[in-house]
Amino acid sequence: MRKLQLPRSPKVLLGLAILAFFVVMTVIGPWLAPYNPSSTAFNPLLSPSSHHWLGTTSLGQDIFSQLLVGARATMVVALVAGLVATALSMGIGIAAGYLGGVADDGLSLLSNVFLAIPGVPLLIVIDSYLPVNSRSNEFVIGLIISLTGWAWGARVLRAQTMSLRNRDFVEAARIIGESRTRIMFSEIAPNLLPVLASSLLFTVLYSIGAYVTLAYIGLTSTSVWNWGTMLYWAQANNAPLSNEWYWFVPPGICIALVGTGLALVNFGIDEFINPRLRAAGLTSRQRRRLHLARRPRLGLTPVLRSSNTALGATRMVSE
């Protein structure tokens, strides 16, 4: 089993730093919030000040508190949906790739069908039928989002599994008589770790988007604070057109930053899976120091195996 060691490029480090920041915000945000986010005790539509860092809403609620409290619901839903969807795509993708035959046909068909149906409209239909008390439950919403988000991962995992199924170590496991489930999930799955990780990040990214979208059009309970609900209220009160940027810009930026963090880490995983992408991690200064051409030459893609052997490896390949 290869260890998942991310290339230490500035992109990945930046991504990890952003994610770490928001994870901390998720955990301690609600305690840090200076006021109760639903309390309407203040004057409406105050501009940002030292008392209200991001001003107040038209109902006199503190926007900064809403942002801090809202992080938790947003991240929890995204994580639940991402984990469930990845588990689904792992089960379905690996089974389809390993079992082959009729099982593969059936499971591939299932994932292709889910891939072709546009996710968010389907979510809106399902969610609009949910009773209101389920809409305020983060776990229910997360589960439904995961139902629309697993298919892509399943397709990728299936392809990767097919390339592994005839390797010697799988063959050996078959010969000693390990059960199919064990081969699939204890032998093959660990070798798909980078693909799984990338799939998890991708679905978490999708889930944040889907959840925020649902909240933005008012399909989650408006009593649960999340970044989408904040945008919903801002939009409903015409904040964008009346220049109350402090109301709707912060939640949008937070969503975008979390997404950027996830995508940047995913770059690292992509570079791990496909070493040809990795040389891009060298800055032009590093390249000069190594006496490399300013751009990698055609057909001679320098491959960095790890940061310690990087210098030797690149020089050898490029000369």
Partner: protein, 324 residues
């Protein structure tokens, strides 16, 4: 290959249609009761019956017979009556669907070509200063479409007055095939199109860049360089092969773009199905929600089919496979 894909899309359409049938019957919150609860005045049994019928929930039919009636009505183009607007769903959709297809179709085509070209260049010049575009593109990719749309509306519409805001054409022109209407539509479409392109272009760009980098390592590119082909030709050579996965992955991408773009319509008050969907959701107008979902799904499937045909034309390998 194309027959297989057709079969897949037919099956997907059937799944979507059936989900539309099953969901109202499966969900714990009975939509009929919700609706009756929303009507303040006394509801007569005749009215309840009418509401039930509008959901296709006839009293005397078994579930299978209901399903058959539902499919029959669907093939006649009957999607039920909108509860809030009182008009047939199909005629409401006929007015809004062309706007959506025009807006999203145009933006997707622009964003695909711009993104692919930029991605090819980024892949080719990898390691140059253009690489700094990548984190920026990633950021734009992560911003929700509707949020970017809102910002653009605020900055370029209501503050700088560079673009007209809200709606699809000026109030002063009469809709129809006349010059002033067409130019007005194009003018009003600029800002929504730009914001959808900005949100979706990064996906194409990054995918293409990665494929291009992988392609550059292939022997045929080295061969092309060794033969002394001009650089432009070599890039074109590699790009033609690198673009194939982008096209093969269109089905995922189209679904994502449509999902995001529906909300852009909402931000710009564009008279397409996105705006309609929001109204329907707010009013719990279930026949309308379902009708919109069906139309969106079928349109996306049709777009996928077109993408498959394009793929077939571009990749000779699939053609020879089909011939064997």
């Amino acid at each position: 290959m194309i027959v297989r894909r057709l079969g897949l899309y037919a099956l997907t359409a059937w799944v979507a249609i059936t989900a539309n049938f099953i969901l109202p019957r499966l969900m714990p919150g009975n939509p009929v009761q919700t609706l009756i609860g929303k009507i303040q005045s006394q509801v007569t049994p005749a009215e309840i019956r009418a509401i039930r019928l509008s959901f296709g929930l006839g009293f005397k039919q078994g579930i299978l017979a209901q399903y058959v009636t539902y499919i029959e009505q669907l093939f006649k183009g009957n999607l039920g009556i909108s509860i809030t607007l009182g008009a047939p769903v199909s005629s409401i959709l006929r007015q809004s669907v062309p706007w959506t297809i025009g807006l999203i179709g145009l933006s997707t085509v622009i964003s695909f070509f711009v993104g692919t070209a930029a991605g090819a260049m980024l892949g080719w010049t990898r390691g140059s200063r253009f690489d700094s575009l990548i984190p920026t593109a990633t950021f734009f990719q992560a911003v929700p479409y509707f949020f970017l749309g809102t910002i653009m509306l605020l900055v370029f519409g209501s503050n700088l007055h560079w673009f007209p805001v809200l709606g699809a054409y000026s109030q002063s022109v009469t809709p129809g095939w006349n010059w002033s209407f067409v130019t007005s539509v194009l003018r009003y479409g600029e800002l929504p199109v730009i914001s959808i392109v900005l949100s979706s272009v990064a996906g194409w760009m990054l995918g293409m860049r990665n494929m291009m980098i992988t392609m550059i390592g292939e022997d045929f590119v080295l061969m092309a360089v060794a033969k002394g082909l001009p650089r432009r030709k070599v890039i074109y050579h590699a790009a033609r092969n690198a673009v194939l996965p982008s096209i093969a992955n269109l089905s995922l991408a189209i679904g994502l773009v449509v999902s995001g773009a529906l909300l852009v319509e909402l931000v710009f008050n564009y008279p397409g199905v996105g705006d309609l969907l929001l109204q329907a959701v707010l009013n719990e107008d279930y026949p309308l929600i379902q009708g919109i979902f069906l139309v969106i799904t079928l349109t996306v499937l049709a777009a996928n089919l077109i993408a498959d045909v394009v793929y077939l034309v571009l990749d000779p390998r699939t053609r020879s496979e089909a011939a064997v």
